[in-house]
């Protein structure tokens, strides 16, 4: 059993209390950076650790921090706590169980990029968590870990929570920025990227909750120690949210590079009801469907290996699909989700998801022929590379891979109409 770094609350009761957190290495990293490190040294340490964004894109975190535009002020930091991908429930556990480590990470990031204000954007359903974080922020201010003149320096950092209101698209970073600005949460055309032009037109670093929660440990124990976990190109621990047809669903913090087999068969204790595993979705509803053969199960879950299966690791929301599940039903579910959540700004996504929903509905209800399946494949293919943001691009992943990798399921569901 590897030591937990992110889900430490499972071994340390009361870690969501500031005193307990302080007794367990809490705020040592924050003290260290403000009293003895230059902001750029902090960024360089994070860069050296190889930490990559845990929200889904896997972009190197330290590199992102180094892109902040030093000629335009003030700077902002935003923690993306919108967590709305079906199958993802890791940030919720971090914020409920280990909130101070997350908030310490946000504060260190603010110091590194010379921001005085940071916003934590939570999905509206996390209202009770926002209340909890507000209390934690107040405790940190009272203890001198947030506010003015931190540790006797001239550094001031303030954290604020901001609640979304039920829109998946606001997890997309540029839509999130517009949402905080009080506009419709719709993606922006990029470039410019947020480190150049972010919230209120100012340089902004947007990082996922899990990403930021790694930071205090990287500072405390050093980049070299951190690189000892995981693989060379994908270092560090990752929380895998395991759901679907599985005996023991839940969050599992494991080194990047752990195989699908170990997660699903050992930690998750396999498939219930005597069923066999059929497919794996590694990035929630945004996934391609991976055929769950031996090769796939033996594949390490990291940012380099999963693409070799024609899929992405994304936020590592592993949805397990067993042999009782019909793929036309499954893609109808995912398409329904994306149709509901499409923001309507760009035509390929708004229209494409709408027509994919009608087609998958017909196919799933056995009222379609293979010609309709071909049409669905055609619609999805035409959306590819043409959407304004990743939502539209993700909406076709399960559709295309489902049709291409599980053709028998579509033949059987259309058999009656074909005849």
């Amino acid at each position: 059993m590897v030591e937990h770094i992110l889900l430490r609350h499972r071994a340390i009761p009361g870690l969501d209390q500031i005193d307990t957190y302080r007794q367990n290495e809490g705020f040592l990293a924050l003290r260290k950076v403000i009293t003895s490190m230059d902001p750029d040294d902090v960024t360089n340490e994070v860069k050296a650790s190889g930490l990559r964004g845990r929200g889904g894109a896997g972009f190197p975190t330290g590199m992102k921090w180094s892109f902040i535009d030093g000629h335009n002020w003030p700077h902002y930091v935003i923690a993306n706590a919108d967590e709305s991908e079906p199958g993802t429930f890791k940030d919720r556990e971090i914020m409920e169980g280990n909130p101070y480590q997350f908030l310490e990470g946000v504060t260190i990031c603010a110091y590194a990029v010379k921001a005085t204000d940071a916003y934590i954007y939570l999905r509206g359903e996390f209202w009770p968590i926002a209340l909890k974080l507000d209390q934690c922020i107040a405790e940190m201010e009272a203890a001198g870990f947030l506010g003015e003149k931190l540790f006797g320096s001239n550094i001031s950092i303030h954290l604020h929570t901001h609640l979304g209101a039920g829109a998946y698209i606001c997890g997309e970073e540029s839509a999130l920025l517009d949402s905080i600005e009080g506009k419709l949460g719709q993606p922006r055309l990029r470039p410019p990227f947020p480190p150049a032009v972010g919230i209120y037109g100012k340089p902004t670093i947007v990082n996922n909750v899990e990403t930021l929660t790694n930071v205090p440990f990287i500072i405390n124990r050093g980049a070299a120690w951190y690189k000892g976990i995981g693989t060379e190109k994908s270092p560090g621990p990752k929380i895998f949210s395991l759901s679907g047809c599985i005996n023991r669903p839940g969050n599992y913090e494991l080194p990047l590079g752990t195989t699908f087999r170990e997660l699903i068969m050992d930690h998750g204790r396999g498939i219930p009801g005597g069923h066999k595993i059929k497919a794996i979705m590694a990035a929630g509803a945004s996934s391609s469907l991976i055929v769950a053969n031996d090769e796939a199960l033996n594949t390490p879950m990291d940012y380099e290996s999963v693409p070799q299966l024609g899929a992405q690791l994304g936020s590592a929301s592993i949805i397990v699909v067993d042999d009782s599940v019909n793929i036309p039903w499954l893609i109808n579910k995912t398409v329904h989700f994306f149709t509901h959540e499409s923001c309507g700004k760009c035509t390929p996504c708004r229209e494409g998801t709408y027509w994919m929903m009608h087609l998958t509905e017909r196919i799933n209800h056995g009222k379609a022929t293979m010609k309709d399946v071909e049409l669905l494949h055609d619609v999805a293919s035409q959306m590819k590379g043409k959407c304004l943001c990743a939502l539209g691009e993700f909406s076709i992943e399960a559709v295309l891979s489902g049709i291409e990798r599980f053709p028998a399921d579509f033949e059987s569901v259309t058999a009656k109409s074909n005849a």
Binding site: E83, S84, E85, P86, G87, T88, F89, D91, R92, Y119, R123, G124, E125, F126, W127, P128, H160, H162, L163, G164, A165, G166, A167, Y168, S179, I180, E181, G182, K183, L184, G185, Y200, S241, L242, S243, G244, C245, P249, G250, N251, M281, G284, A285, S317, I319, V320, V321, V325, L330, K333, T334, F337, H340, E341, C343
Partner: protein, 166 residues
């Protein structure tokens, strides 16, 4: 006369203080102010829309468009309690669709309808980040928002009956 500002001066100031003091910052207060108004009336009233527009220095149309865009804001009254069951893929793989259907059958309503006493509206909603504890639902009420996880039809009916009593 701004009713919202008059009734909740401290809350409104605390919300505005989170954002820059210029006009762009004031506009950021629109979402939290909408929650404040909704907590009071169960939905964002026409009057509240006007008051929020005034505080944020934007038009009434802009405020109204935000209500329409997000699914947690309401511009008309509905059931006092919203029981919102997630039926997205991970929950559906753990029986959430059957759970919702049986629950509604027991309440004598269809999905999306409100119980005869007008107290509880039962809806299917998108992912709530409770995938490992499905079937699950959230209860949205004037008092706030509450998760109920690892549910059976029986345990859900118990929760709903409590809501209907008070």
């Amino acid at each position: 006369m701004n009713g919202l500002l008059e009734k909740y001066p401290d809350e409104v100031q605390a919300i505005l203080a989170k954002y820059p003091s210029d006009q762009a910052g004031k506009r950021s207060a629109v979402m939290p102010l909408m929650y404040l108004a909704q907590r009071q009336d169960g939905y964002v009233t026409k009057d509240a829309i006007g008051q929020i527009a005034e505080i944020c220095e934007i038009t009434v149309t802009e405020v109204a468009s935000i209500i329409g865009f997000y699914s947690l804001y309401y511009d008309e009254p509905s059931g006092k309690y919203h029981v919102q069951v997630c039926t997205d893929l991970p929950c559906a793989l753990r029986g959430a669709e059957q759970f919702l259907e049986n629950l509604c059958q027991n309440l004598g309503i269809k999905v999306g309808e409100t119980t005869a006493d007008g107290m509880v509206k039962v809806e299917a909603v998108m992912c709530l980040a409770g995938c490992d504890k499905a079937p699950m639902f959230q209860v949205q009420s004037p008092e706030g928002l509450e998760y109920h996880e690892n549910q059976t039809v029986e345990s859900a009916l118990e929760v709903i009956n409590k809501l209907r009593q008070g």
